[in-house]
Amino acid sequence: MSTADYDDSFVADALPAFVSEAHEQIAAIEQLLLQLEDRPADRELLDALFRCAHTVKGSAGIFGLDAVVAFTHSVETLLDRLREGAVVLTPALSTLLLLANDQIRLLVAAAQDDKADTGASQSQREDLVRRLDEAAGCTPAQAPCAQPPAGQVLPAGAVRRWQLGVRFGADTFRNGMDPLAVLGYVGGLGTVHAMRCNTAAVPDLLALDAETCHLAFDFMLETAASREDIEAGFSFVRDDCELSLLEVTPQAVAAPPEADAPRKATPRQEPRGDATAGAAHGEESRYIRVQADRLDDVINLLGELVTAGAGALLLARQSRQGTLVEANQQITSLIEEVRNSTLQLRMVPIGETFSRFRRVVRDTAAELGKDVVLAIEGGDTELDKSVVERIADPLMHLVRNALDHGLETPAQRMAAAKPAQGRLTLSACHESGSILIRIIDDGRGIDRDKVLQRAWERGLVEQGVVPPDADILNLIFEPGFSTADKVTNLSGRGVGMDVVRRNIEALRGSVTLSSQPATGSRIDIRLPLTLAIIDGFLVGVGPSKFIFPLDAVVEVIESALPALPRDARGRNCVELRGQMLPVVDLRTLYALDSPAPLRSSIVVIRSAAQRYGVMVDALLGQHQTVIKPLGRMLRSLRGISGSSILGSGEVALIFDVASLNHLAAQPLEPPGYPHAPRSAVKARVSPSIPH
C-alpha cells in the first residue's frame, strides 16, 4: 500500500470515513448482484452496480490503496462489459462477482489493518483477477487496452462537489452572452447550492453603463461531471471571465484521470445520467452522518431530563400554584415531543438487516444442496438501531438453523409432495408497542419425539417425564441442545440456540417456537421498539408503584369485589363482557403485605393474542418512563423487566407484559413464592442503577 506519498494525518483522519462508505458501496454491490440474479438484463441495476464499483475504485485511488484500485478495476471492466451487453450475467458469473466483492471488502478492511491481507488471500485474488479478465473477454496481454474504456463512457461516476467562483467579463452582454443562460447550463450538470450573486461591483444607476457586465457569482455545484465538462459550460464566455473551480473534499471522489477525458455527449443529450446524479444528490443531502455515541449521549441526557421534568411537575403541583403547574405541564409536553423525535432519530428500518440474509441464504442453501427462496415482508418496519444491531446475530443463527435443519433437499421435498424449492420468510411488523419478527420455513418441522428423546439423554428433562407440547419445542432453547444427526459447520454444534434466547431476552424480548410436522416451523421474536424510554401507565399497590407499557393497556375496569372468583384451575378471574379474564393479583404474587383497599381496579393488558387483568389499588396515570435495567439482585424477578425513577424519587418497577401473562395463566401459588423476594418489591431505594 503506497500511502507514503500522502499526508499521513489526512489519511488517518479520512480513512475511517472512506472505509465506512466503501463498505456501504460493497453492501450495495452485493444487493444489486443478488437482485440481478432475478433480472439479469436490468439496465438500471447494471448501471447502479457499475457506479458502486467505480465509486469504490475512485475513492480508493485518493487514499493510494493500489491493491483495491487494481482489483476493483478488473471487476469494473467486467461490469462494463455486462452493461454493454457483450457479456451475459450467468449464475456462475454472479457467483464470481460475489466472490470478487468479498475480496474488495477484504481489501478495504486491509486498508485499516494490514494483517487482514494474508498471502493466501493474495493468491486467491490473483486467481479471481484471472477469472474476471477471462469473463470480460480480455486476456492479460490485452488488459492494458481495457483500461481506458472503463472510465471513459461513464455517464455518472461519483457525485462530486465543486466550489465555483465566476466573475463575468465586462463585455459579456455586448458579446451577446447572458450569464443567466450560462448558469442555467452549468446548473443542468448537477445541483446548484448556495448560489450567491455578488452585486457589490455593480455601480449605482448614475454611473452604470447598462450594457457592461459587473456580475460575479459564487456557488456550490454537485455533479458527476468532470472538471472539463464544467469548464466547458463557460467556454463561450471563457475569454473574458474569471473562473475558479475547486473540488470540495473529503467525501468527494477523485475519479481516476481517464474519467476526466472529454465525454462523447453533452449532458443535455444524456438526461438520464443527469437525472440519476440529481437523485443521488438528493438522497445525500437529506442525510447527515452522526456518530452513534453522540446520539446515545443525547438520549441519556434526555432520560435525565424526563425524570427531572417529572420531579419539577410534582413540586409545582404540591405548591398549588396554577400558573406554575401550567408552565410545568407545557414543559412536560415539550419534553415528550423532544423525546419522541429524538428516539425517532435512532429508528432504522429492519429491511437492511433482512436483506443481508439474501446472501446467507443463497450461499448456505447452495452449500447444503438445497434450493431455497427468501421472502422478506415488512422490511420498512422501523426499530431502534441498537436493537437492530443486537438482533442481527441471533437472526443469523435462526436463519441458518432453518436452512440446515428445517428445510429439506429438493429430493426430500419432492418425496413429501412439496414444491422442490423451499421457502424461508423473514417478516416484521409492529404489534402493540413492540416489534414482531418472524422466521417461517416450510420445511419438515420439528420432530417432537426426537427433541424429547434428546432432552432425556441430556438430562434436561427427567427420564420418562413428558412436558406439555409447547414446552417440548422450547427445550431447543436450553443450553447444550442439538438435534442434528451430524454436526455440520453451519449449525448443530449445540451452541447458539440458548445464546439466541439469552440475547433476545437481554433486549427485553421473547422468542417462541411453533412447528407443524411436515409443514414447517415458525419462530416469533418479540422485541421492544426502544431500549430507552417508553410511555408508561403508572399504578400503585399499597405504597409500591408499578408501570405498564402504555401500548399494552387496553382498558381499566372497576372491581368492587373483596375477593375474586376462581376458575377450576384455581386462577383468579373476572367476567368481562361475557368472557372470562384471568387476573393477576399483585398483592398475592409479590406478597405485598399492605392491606387491600375496599375498591380496586383491574387493568386489562394485551400480550400477543391474549388478554389478562392485573389487579391494582390506584391508577396514577400516564408516565414518561425512562427504563433502567434491574440490578443483579432483582433480575430473576418474574414479570418485571426494568425499573424507573419517578419524579418523587421513588422507584417503580416496569412490568414485562409477556412474562406476566404466563404468571396470569398459572394457578395461584402459595405465598412466599421463591421468585418474589418480599424485600425486593418493598424496597424504596433505587435498585442499583448503573448509569
Binding site: 457589490a200 444607476l205 447598462a210 450594457e211
Partner: protein, 96 residues
C-alpha cells in the same frame, strides 16, 4: 412620499440602457414601490439593472420594495442568487 415604478414586459439587454435613463428620476429619499408583475422576459443585464436601482435608492436614503414579481423575474433572481425576493430588500440592505 411614495413612488411607484412599473417594470416593462421586457427587462433585457435590449431595453436596459433606455430604462436606466428613465429610472434615474425614481431615485430619492422616499419609498419606491416597484411593480414587477408585467416582466415577461428578463436576462442577467436586467437583473443587474434592478440591483443597481436598489443600491442607488439605498444610497439616497430611500427604500425600495418589489411587488408582485412575475414568474420569469422570480426565477431569474433565484437562479442568480440575488437575495431576498420579493423585495430585493437584502440587496438594498447589503449595499446600504
Amino acid at each position: 412620499m411614495t413612488d411607484t415604478l412599473k417594470l416593462p414586459p421586457e427587462l433585457t439587454i435590449y431595453t436596459t440602457a433606455q430604462l436606466r435613463a428613465q429610472w434615474l428620476d425614481c431615485v430619492g429619499p422616499s419609498h419606491l414601490t416597484v411593480d414587477a408583475s408585467a416582466v415577461a422576459e428578463v436576462d442577467a443585464a436586467g437583473v443587474q439593472l434592478l440591483a443597481s436601482l436598489a443600491s442607488s435608492v439605498a444610497q439616497a436614503q430611500g427604500t425600495l420594495s418589489l411587488l408582485n414579481a412575475s414568474q420569469p423575474l422570480a426565477r431569474a433572481c433565484l437562479a442568480m442568487g440575488v437575495a431576498g425576493l420579493p423585495g430585493l430588500n437584502d440587496t438594498t440592505g447589503a449595499t446600504a
